[in-house]
Amino acid sequence: MKILYFAWIRQRIGLAVEELERPPDVTTVNELINWLIGQGEGYTQAFEKRDVIRVAVNQDYVSFDHPIADDDEIAFFPPVTGG
């Protein structure tokens, strides 16, 4: 799956985009975050305040219990501040 990070989440992780193979037991956004947190300090810091983060799957907003599939595009970002 393709994972994108924006704004301060991108800065903390140090990556804008990455391709990852999810373990078979990672089937929701929440499980993905739990798994990512184990990948390093940057991830831990990025997902520290999980409740302020927004997530999009295939460019639509979803909730944290949304299922994920191998060919999904998943994006994590802080609340938006455009306009």
Partner: protein
């Protein structure tokens, strides 16, 4: 129509293009957002020297197209246009133009407010301000959330 671009835009030209050959239009409402040179946080006087606007290419266009279609479902519009910039901006620069044309003045105003309220809370843009105190990501304002909540159906 929606456009995401790095370049500046000319409001008069854009509005003229939008309304060309649409003779039933009676009124055009527009909103133009600018980069302020003060941090929007109340009580501070931190000056903003520059700003970088990051966005999520692909999702930005998708969500803006959806919301423009929704505005056209809710109000009898003859034309609508959203232009949003990204990249490096300076204080006073134009960030966004939202404009709606309709035979009905009230419809044009409401659709324009709907679009900018929605855009502020849902379009995937993030402002990184370069202030006298260093760079800082702009935080969402509660007033913007309240403004967007008005339009929930």
């Amino acid at each position: 129509m929606i456009r995401i671009q790095e370049e500046d835009f000319d409001v008069g030209t854009e509005i003229a293009l939008m309304t060309a050959d649409k003779a039933m239009i009676g009124g055009i409402a527009a909103f133009i957002g600018l980069v302020r040179d003060m941090a929007p946080v109340e009580g501070t006087d931190k000056r903003i020297n520059a700003m970088n606007l990051e966005h999520y290419p692909g999702m930005t266009e998708k969500k803006l197209c959806e919301i423009e279609a929704e505005a056209n479902r809710r109000w009898p519009l003859d034309a609508s246009l959203v232009i949003h910039r990204y990249g490096s901006l300076k204080p006073g620069d134009q960030i966004v133009l939202v404009t709606c044309a309709s035979a009905h003045r009230q419809a044009a105003f409401e659709a324009c407010q709907f679009l900018i309220d929605w855009l502020k809370t849902e379009a995937p843009f993030w402002k990184l301000e370069d202030t006298d105190d260093g760079t800082m990501w702009v935080e969402t304002r509660d007033t913007d959330k309240a403004a967007a909540a008005r339009w929930k159906k």
